[in-house]
Amino acid sequence: MTACQEACPANAITFGNANDPTSEVAKMREAPLGYYALEQLDIKPNVTYLAKLRNI
């Protein structure tokens, strides 16, 4: 857990081991809301963004 993750009141960022399927980060990468920059290139960057839900 990094300092910025701990400090953030909105839980805006999550760090972890993407190779560990039980970690929160891995779950967010798999989640439907998760996307990568330049996803069509299939290079799986380290950073996964979560799409914002606007209709709830």
Binding site: A37, L38, L41, I43
Partner: protein
């Protein structure tokens, strides 16, 4: 033109001692004013490069025009350019030897020396373009305390091995070939200091039968080792680009395209240098118009291969339907660097078409100009490939133009200064033509009962 007999590889049927004398003359005679003028020009260029490098080391890579996204520009352009120049030397020296093309004899020593100097120039660039060049040794897999290996997945590391292998094998091949000539120089020279150096370097060569047998065997083996390097080294260098995902770089044609381009640019530089050398040192009867004619033909062949790649890349970009790739190909021809692109195409495709004509191939002046234009065109080719793919990559938000700085030009000039200084020093200290091999291809060298069977 009598086509029933092959033209003699050494004109005028000189005696063996005349051959020795004319090849050794540049080393024995005190250099002329022209030589010192040439040397002062090249040393000035080298000095400009040293100053530019000093600025780079002191103030950092910010002195160059590199930015994000154009992280590679003159540095890698120059690296690929100089490695490419080296390939002609190895082709002439090793490949033509294995193909038993005896006309290579007059030009092989010089071409191989050019390879070594070109690889030395090229090797500087990966070192200086590091942000912290004092860590340059870490490109090698040294055992270190931090316990982390170099990145085996990276083509930049494959380059390290490819280029160092290439340099080592070329140096060995060149040196072994030099041994009989160093022995000749040892026997000819009267200067005590030179005699000591030549004695040490000639490794006790006695011109005995056994020595020649060993020599021929090692020479063939080294030629066989050097030959695959012509294909592999520039393929590895091209993978610097081809294994990336950038549009314009991510194409499988790069390895053969780069190898053909390297041979092309190398022959351009060899022709440039040889035309000067044969004139300055009065060696026109050994490096004949016939040799230049044959080199021009090889140049034409590889120019056609490069032309094919110029046609194929846009075609595949269009045929693939990938809008990003097609956009990039259009950008090359019509974007900010379009002028450079079209100069490149003219110099590499249209101008070499003149070499179809025997009159042109035999006209030394025109050949010299064509070879200079080839050098320009091939440098531009690497520049266009690198900069256009970087300045227009995937996201428009990353786009940024690249403009070279004076420091960039200074280092480029310095690399030419280093190369030509080394060539001039080489011409003064070592025979630019292989004395022993040339004697083997003069008329009468291989007497036989059948007339006209002396050389193929």
């Amino acid at each position: 033109m009598d086509y029933t007999k092959a033209p003699p590889l050494v004109e005028g049927n000189p005696s063996l001692s005349k051959i020795d004398e004319s090849i050794a003359k540049p080393m024995e005679k005190f250099p002329s004013k022209k030589y010192f003028m040439a040397l002062s020009v090249t040393l000035t260029m080298l000095l400009i490069g040293a100053v530019a490098l000093g600025y780079t080391f002191y103030y950092g890579i910010g002195m160059w025009g590199n930015n994000i996204p154009v992280g590679w520009a003159f540095d890698i352009t120059n690296f690929v350019f100089w490695i490419g120049i080296g390939h002609a030397g190895t082709l002439i020296s090793a490949v033509l030897f294995l193909f038993r093309q005896r006309w290579r004899t007059a030009i092989a020593r010089f071409a191989e020396a050019m390879t070594i100097f070109a690889v030395m120039c090229a090797g500087l660039f990966p070192l200086i373009h590091l942000g912290r060049p004092w860590y340059a040794a870490f490109v090698f897999p040294l055992p270190t305390q931090h316990g982390v290996w170099i990145n085996w997945n990276s083509p930049l590391i494959w380059d390290v091995f490819a280029v160092s292998t290439y340099f080592t094998v070329s140096l060995m091949f060149w040196y072994i070939g030099l041994i009989p000539d160093l022995a000749t120089m040892r026997d000819r020279t009267t200067n005590k200091f030179k005699k000591m150096i030549y004695s040490v370097l000639s490794l006790g060569w006695r011109f005995s039968n056994k020595h020649w047998q060993h020599y021929e065997k090692v020479y063939v083996i080294l030629a066989g080792l050097a030959t695959p390097l012509v294909l592999s080294v520039h393929s590895i260098v091209s993978l610097d680009f081809a294994v990336s995902i950038l549009p314009g770089w991510h194409t499988t044609i790069f390895p053969p395209y780069f190898v053909a381009g390297a041979i092309f640019s190398g022959f351009g530089m060899v022709m440039t240098a040889l035309i000067i050398v044969r004139k300055v040192f009065n060696l026109e009867y050994i490096i004949t118009a016939d040799h230049l004619d044959k080199m021009a033909k090889v140049t034409l062949v590889v120019s056609m291969m490069v032309a094919y790649a110029y046609v194929l890349e846009p075609f595949i970009a269009w045929y693939s339907g990938d809008p990003v790739d097609w956009f990039l190909v259009l950008m090359r021809a019509t974007g900010h660097y379009a002028f450079g692109f079209w100069v490149m195409v003219s110099c590499n495709v249209f101008i070499p078409q003149l070499l179809w004509f025997r009159k042109i191939r035999r006209n030394i002046g025109v050949l010299f100009v064509i070879s200079l234009l080839i050098n320009v065109g091939m440098w531009l080719e690497r520049y266009i490939i690198i900069v256009t793919s970087l300045y227009r990559d995937f996201l428009p938000s990353s786009w940024h133009i690249y403009v070279p700085t004076l420091t960039d030009f200074g280092i480029l000039i310095g690399s030419f200064g280093l190369f030509f200084t080394l060539v001039l020093l080489f011409a003064r200290t070592l025979p630019v033509i292989s004395m022993s091999e040339i004697k083997g291809v003069t008329e009468g060298a291989h007497p036989s009962h059948h007339p006209g069977a002396e050389h193929e």
